[in-house]
Symmetry: C2
């Protein structure tokens, strides 16, 4: 086996999801994931620091791409407009790998420890977006509120999209933001 397998990361992720869905997350070992992908545990650990990261490494990529999109928005764009650019990138990325994202979501939803890790990743995404907004000159409070609203809308939309094949993720995010305005105003 060569030291660098082509798309070893992708094969490991796919093998992991198949095993998690059939054998269960807890019962699956890194050795089993590697074997199913035709690779060794050493190769697994060259790509992922631990078993859960085979599910979460993509979240870091997502965060980086969303922050980059926000930073690239025109300086005169409102916080909402800049966040929309970030959300567009997230939607595009997830839609490209919809099947994987949905199966991943079901594994995570069934395991409280993974759900907690997912929550932490979303919280970190929110902080990263707020920081990037603040660097564009948005005040700390509005930056935090806008970022949290965007991440909440995205998280709730993603939950629904994962359960409803055929749903439009971008539209769900938009609906959630509209919903938010109505809910907060209706005292």
């Amino acid at each position: 086996m060569s030291r660098w397998e082509p798309d070893a990361g992708g094969r490991l992720r796919e093998a992991a999801l198949e095993l998690f869905a059939t054998t269960g997350y807890e019962a699956t070992t890194v050795a089993q994931i590697a074997a199913r992908a035709g690779l060794t545990s050493r190769t697994f650990f060259r790509h992922f620091p631990d078993k859960p990261e085979v599910l979460f490494a993509g979240s870091d990529t997502l965060e980086q791409k969303m922050v980059a999109a926000l930073r690239a928005a025109p300086l005169e764009a409102s916080p909402r407009r800049a966040l929309d650019d970030a959300l567009d990138v997230a939607v595009a990325l997830l839609s490209e790998r919809a099947d994987f994202a949905r199966r991943r979501h079901h594994v995570i939803a069934a395991n409280p420890a993974l759900l907690e890790r997912e929550t932490m990743k979303l919280a970190r995404l929110s902080t990263a977006l707020a920081t990037a907004l603040h660097e564009r000159g948005v005040g700390q409070r509005p930056a935090a509120m806008a970022a949290q609203a965007a991440v909440a809308a995205f998280g709730v939309a993603f939950d629904q999209w994962a359960r409803e094949p055929g749903a439009n993720l971008r539209r769900l995010v938009e609906e959630n933001l509209d919903l938010l305005v109505g809910l907060v105003r209706d005292k």
Copy 2:
């Protein structure tokens, strides 16, 4: 020493905060906290499962009281109105122990692991409020969005209030919710 000390929990919390502020969170042991409170480690562990919980046990009380207030809101109240009742309870509870809450906040803000635990507690609070709203007949998506907006407004307000003696926590929450509406609408 009698088995049940009067307000042992409160004395342990106070001793812990004093030590965390002077010696640092990591360097402080449970034995030191107990000794400073004039109690034993056994008594500490009768009140808190581990060292961090001396800071976080109050979050569970806060969550329970907020959920109870939301449940007690008139059935015809809008989600916002019911959440306002929950936020009022949180504001009252924190204002009563403002000095403690502020010192606690500074200890947590300085420690990434504690900050992560605080984030998880806020996420759980949000889920608990969303569930209670859903039980009142609010749809799952609006319940999740409204609860997340309320908790975001509360969290951001609390951050500022902890840094600014004399700030009005309830007003900050209200301002954040108004801010949210403007930010989401300004495309």
